[in-house]
Amino acid sequence: MSGSPLSYAQAALLALQQAMQADATVVALGEDLGRGGVFGQYRGLQQEFGPQRVIDTPISEANIMGAAVGMALTGLRPVVEMRVIDFALCAMDEIVNQAAKNRFMFGGQGRVPLVARMPIGIWSASAAQHSQSLEAWFAHLPGVAVVCPATPQDNFSLLKASLACGDPVVYMEHKELWGLQGEVDPTLELLLGRANTVRRGNDLTLVTWSRGLAPTLLALELDGLKGVSVEVIDLRTLWPWDQTAVFESAARTGRLLVVHEAVQVAGFGAEVAARTAEATGCRIARLGAPRIPVGYAQVLENESRLSPEKIAAAALHLLGTAR
């Protein structure tokens, strides 16, 4: 299996390009797509597929998402660009009431196979309205899948899986990962709902996703955690999520720490923790951001950021508790 190094953004671009080449019903719509998209993740697509399939839109988030629902009902498979999750909030009715419920409330008459790309996360001192991680909002919503890739390979394979799954997918790339380089095997197929056990271990299960993965792996190199056998699971998709992998691991290690960049209160970590505790009775801890808006100045922003040190401290605290 040979791969080539691509950035996280290039991996998604390649996945979308291949999907559009293979299926004439795949279209993309959103702001600035004709210039490659704000993060370059659509570069060259309008030149290759034309403005009818790579559609530059007005700044009309509600209509972008609503039109995608209408397109999906009329035989297309739209990829919807929301630019950042914070702007998708202008399209919440279209996501929550229209896309997510259409199939069920109309008794299965239609399908809404769309992929709504809503990049999450702290990025480049963008402050409170361009830095949120709202994946838990959508995990709470019946009818949508929620995907949070952490690597270039996953951004390639999970975008392809999302385009193929037939459901409305809330696809959450992390804005600080666009430049991340990694090997991408274009033949690797992934299914939504399968976690990636990144590292095997027996003392502690550490579950994370998206931008949480990199500082988690760095935390394992810190002095305090050297010599501790930590199992690291990248959840990859929040709905469906890989309960089998997490329960099996936590039952074996007896300790679960869930790490995410999103605010900890009512974050998806709470769901993972509660379900795993119910299933295994293991010790539980969570690490997420405090319940504060993301600040602009570096010292303020850092309060909301994950770091290897914070993750190591949380892990050591959990390891120090009685089993």
Partner: protein, 333 residues
């Protein structure tokens, strides 16, 4: 005869609405009224289009089965006029397994995709963006059909109205926007809540040609819709029809609507679209007996629909887990 077709369609809608209204009494606790001790046959909020039938009939008689339609929370008339089977519609209102939506949507989400009716909607103006996307897909796929997008006067004050009309004009999409203006937003008169010259002026400000008609005159609606849809079908971009009508009933069927002046309601009922068209038929030489026969046929059709709905099976509880999504199906917690 076109006028007879319009009348027949309106009469069928009226019969459906009257029957649904009767079956819904006590179905929802609102406006200070308690729900009935014995559950109503039609549960939940029921938004009736009684008095507004000429808009549904006049527009939909100009649509082919392959044309698409998006509707509002007040969507029974549009659904019936687009060609849905009233028995399956009534079964849906009764929450039965063989309803148009298998009992999963009820009145507010009634839909029949098999006749191009893409759904009533519980959110004001929500059908507008969906209609633009459906029209864009038709255009991208090179299909010759058009989309009729019904919305109410209240929708013109929501953001998606601006976003959707702008969008349709920018991409020159095959959509006929139909503002079914019943002059009231739930219980609040719309005019004092609306700045400027109204929905047609707003459309024209975006470059959409618009026509305003008497929405209680089915013949006038039919003529205007034919004109506008001709342009839409010819690829000349979207158009807007502003049809001014009147809602005879309250916001929902258990709402007595007594916040409105009784004289205003009585005056409106003297301008009942069925009476208007009946008068036109008589003037055109159609025998009263022939019109009465249409009335009887419509009542008979809806009585049969009611009886079928009463006898129809309930959904299995397990159907609550069907058609949620593919990914992760089977795991619900």
């Amino acid at each position: 005869m076109r006028l007879l077709e319009l009348y027949r369609l309106m009469r069928r809608i009226r019969a459906f609405e009257d029957a649904a209204e009767e079956a819904s009494q006590g179905g929802v606790a609102a406006w200070g009224l308690a729900a009935a001790a014995k559950p109503a046959r039609v549960r939940g909020p029921l938004h009736l289009s009684t008095g507004q039938e000429a808009v549904a009939a006049g527009v939909c008689l100009n649509l082919a089965r392959e044309d698409l339609l998006t509707s509002t929370h007040r969507g029974h008339g549009h659904t019936l006029a687009k060609g849905a089977d009233p028995t399956r519609m009534m079964c849906e209102l009764f929450g039965r397994a063989n309803g148009t939506n298998q009992g999963k949507g009820g009145s507010m989400h009634i839909a029949d995709f098999s006749v191009g009716m893409l759904g009533a909607n519980g959110v004001v103006a929500a059908g507008i963006p969906i209609a633009t996307g459906a029209a864009q897909a038709l255009k991208i796929r090179g299909l010759p059909h058009v989309v009729a997008c019904f919305f109410g006067d209240g929708a013109a004050n929501r953001g998606p109205f601006l976003e959707g009309l702008n969008w349709a004009q920018v991409y020159q999409l095959p959509v006929l926007f139909v503002c079914e203006d019943n002059r009231i937003s739930a219980t609040t008169p719309t005019a004092p809540m609306t700045a400027g010259e109204g929905v047609s002026a707003r459309a024209e400000a975006l470059g959409l040609r618009a026509l305003k008609v008497d929405g209680n005159d089915a013949r006038a609606v039919d003529t205007a819709a034919a004109t506008l849809l001709g342009a839409v079908r010819a690829g000349q971009g979207p158009r807007l029809l502003h049809a001014v009508t009147y809602r005879f009933k309250g916001h929902v069927s258990v709402d007595p609507g007594n916040y409105r002046d009784a004289a205003e309601v009585e005056a409106a009922k003297r301008n009942d679209p069925l009476l208007v068209t009946r008068g036109q038929l008589l003037a055109a030489g159609v025998a009263a007996a022939a019109i009465d026969a249409i009335d009887r046929d419509a009542l008979g059709e809806i009585e049969r629909a009611l009886a079928a709905a009463e006898a129809a099976p309930w959904p299995e509880a397990s159907a609550a887990y069907d058609d949620v999504m593919n990914s992760g199906a089977g795991v619900w917690r």
